[in-house]
């Protein structure tokens, strides 16, 4: 009997601890969200008012980020989106063939690549490639007191490091998405050309007929949102790095996992709201 009471007491105690942990995590999550929001506002503030205060966000720094995030990722984005285009048209033709409607593959690929796949692939790729690099860079700077050194010189780290990353992301990711759109459609065109004997010019003609400006818009809006997510998650994790080289590694992993998760969830939410008119 006593043992039973002890056991139930134990269970109550454990579930109390469990609930407490959930509460703590929730509070920590809210706190981090607040921190990220403040960071975003600060970045925007520096971009808008830096010039007036003689502490501009340097254009050279922004272009350095664009080169790092965008130009250097061109090849890999092209290859991946080409592959996705080919893959989509294989699946599309296979499915549509059952209804004898394989010509519709052009519309299917055009819309799904521009609305969904190009921004998503680019977002995930940039998060893995640049998001982690940004966290590691800022994290090691934090570790070695370089951020403090910037501060005592009078250089605000948000202006000097975070704002160029944010602006660079917001330029690079949408541009990469446009490249991804093009390459995805080209991939599909190549496969469809050989599979159902559709000449390239006809394919492109049909693609233009199938695409509406809204399809491209949707992709670019998402790409901009992903850009903000990657930049903020990367930078904030860098600024909050714990002690030691281990801390940098942990933050880098966390940054990638968190930004990819946020990207996928944000993608779902935006897809729903951007298409709410067509759903009902």
């Amino acid at each position: 009997m006593a043992a039973k009471e002890k056991l139930s007491g134990n269970i109550i105690q454990r579930s109390a601890i469990f609930l407490e942990n959930i509460g703590k995590r929730f509070a920590a999550g809210i706190e981090e969200l607040g921190y990220v929001m403040v960071l975003f506002v600060e970045c925007v503030y520096w971009v808008l008012t830096g010039f007036r205060r003689k502490q501009p966000v340097r254009v050279a720094a922004v272009f350095k980020e664009v080169r790092e995030i965008g130009v250097n990722a061109l090849l890999i984005v092209s290859v991946l989106c080409l592959a996705v285009g080919v893959m989509l048209s294989i699946q599309g033709i296979a499915t549509l063939k059952q209804f004898g409607q394989e010509l519709w593959v052009v519309d299917l690929v055009a819309q799904s690549v521009t609305r969904e796949f190009a921004p998503l692939i680019v977002g995930i790729l940039v998060a893995g490639r640049s998001g982690s690099a940004i966290t590691a860079r800022i994290g090691t700077m934090n570790e070695s007191q370089e951020l403090d050194a910037l501060r005592v010189i009078g250089i605000n780290p948000v202006r000097h490091l975070a704002a160029p990353v944010l602006v660079g992301m917001m330029i690079s990711v949408p541009l990469l998405t446009i490249v991804g759109d093009f390459m995805g459609i080209m991939g599909s065109a190549l496969f469809t050309g050989t599979e159902i004997d559709m000449p390239l010019d006809v394919y492109i003609q049909r693609t233009f007929e199938a695409l509406k400006p809204d399809d491209i818009h949707q992709g670019l809006i998402k790409a901009s949102v992903f850009a903000i997510i990657i930049a903020l998650v990367g930078v904030s994790n860098g600024f909050q790095v714990g002690s030691g080289a281990e801390g940098v590694g942990r933050s880098t992993t966390r940054s990638v996992v968190l930004s990819i998760s946020c990207i996928v969830v944000a993608d779902m939410i935006f897809t729903y709201f951007l298409n709410i008119g067509t759903l009902t």
């Binding site: 070695s144 370089e146 403090d148 005592v152 010189i153």
Partner: protein, 278 residues
């Protein structure tokens, strides 16, 4: 350059400074005046709060309570723009040097000039070279920080700290991690700079020898409190037991509180800041 006006009174004046790290109190009611053109050494063992005190004087963290005046201006109430101006008069050399690894030594030294002045590139480079000469690092401007030795990194950091000819120079652990000869060279460098440029210099260190060599006055911190502030001789002659322990490298003989000890063993949290080595 509004902050470059003449100022009488202490270069740095800390009054009743209390700081916390999380819930833990680190500095307890610290008050300290640093006179212009003196070399003030802040000493103490690991975890005494000496580096923390410097961080707060530099305005890197906001204090819980108390005031910190630098060149007559209370940095706890300054706006960001005023603080930005004041930074022109403050140079800092961090313990690890904290050179930006993505830039060359020369570019590192130029950073404050780029930020605060509108000089053209060539003038900035010449000024950086002049300061690198002062710290005996001529011809090293094109190297990356990773190519320098520990002593050279500290000297390069010093060149960056003095490139704006600040009135106040802060130096965190100049001799930590250096061999005795290089450490002695840095001490001489600090003395020379004061003689040549008339700077007020604040050095944070735990090296006794170095402190006695360069200090005009020494402040001794222990467990977040100032034990004493005085000249080298006054410190040496102090009868305070904890100061003598520090000077004679005697291990601290902490009185053991059996109850607190038991509580620690049982894993009960107590609020005793000493338990964490701060």
């Amino acid at each position: 350059m509004s902050s470059r006006g003449s100022h009488t009174g202490p270069a740095v004046s800390v009054k009743n400074l209390v700081t916390h790290y999380g819930k833990k109190q680190i500095l307890n009611n610290v008050s300290l005046d640093i006179v212009p053109e003196e070399i003030m050494v802040i000493m103490g063992g690991s975890g005494s709060g000496k580096s923390t005190l410097m961080r707060y004087i530099l305005g890197l963290n906001p204090p819980t309570s108390g005031t910190i005046e630098i060149l007559g201006r209370d940095i706890t109430t300054l706006s960001e723009i005023e603080m930005y101006d004041l930074r022109k008069d403050m140079g800092v050399s961090f313990q690890s040097g904290a050179l930006l690894r993505s830039l060359t030594v020369g570019e590192n030294v130029c950073m404050p000039l780029k930020e605060h002045t509108k000089l053209d590139e060539n003038t900035m480079r010449i000024m950086a070279r002049m300061k690198l000469e002062v710290v005996n690092l001529a011809n090293f401007e094109d190297l990356m920080p990773s190519e320098l030795s520990g002593g050279m990194i500290k000297r390069a950091a010093l060149a960056r700290a003095i490139v704006m000819d600040p009135k106040l120079l802060f130096f965190d652990e100049p001799s930590a991690g250096l061999d005795p000869v290089v450490a002695a060279e840095l001490d001489d460098l600090i003395l020379n700079m004061r003689a040549d440029m008339g700077m007020t210099i604040v050095v944070v260190t735990h090296e006794l020898e170095s402190a006695f060599k360069i200090a005009d006055r020494i402040t001794i911190l222990d467990q977040g409190e100032i034990l004493m502030t005085g000249t080298v001789d006054e410190v040496k002659q102090s009868t305070n037991k904890r100061i003598q322990d520090l000077l004679n490298r005697r291990p601290r003989q902490e009185e053991i509180d059996p109850e607190a000890y038991l509580r620690r063993l049982l894993g009960e949290k107590d609020d005793d800041p000493d338990a964490f080595g701060y």
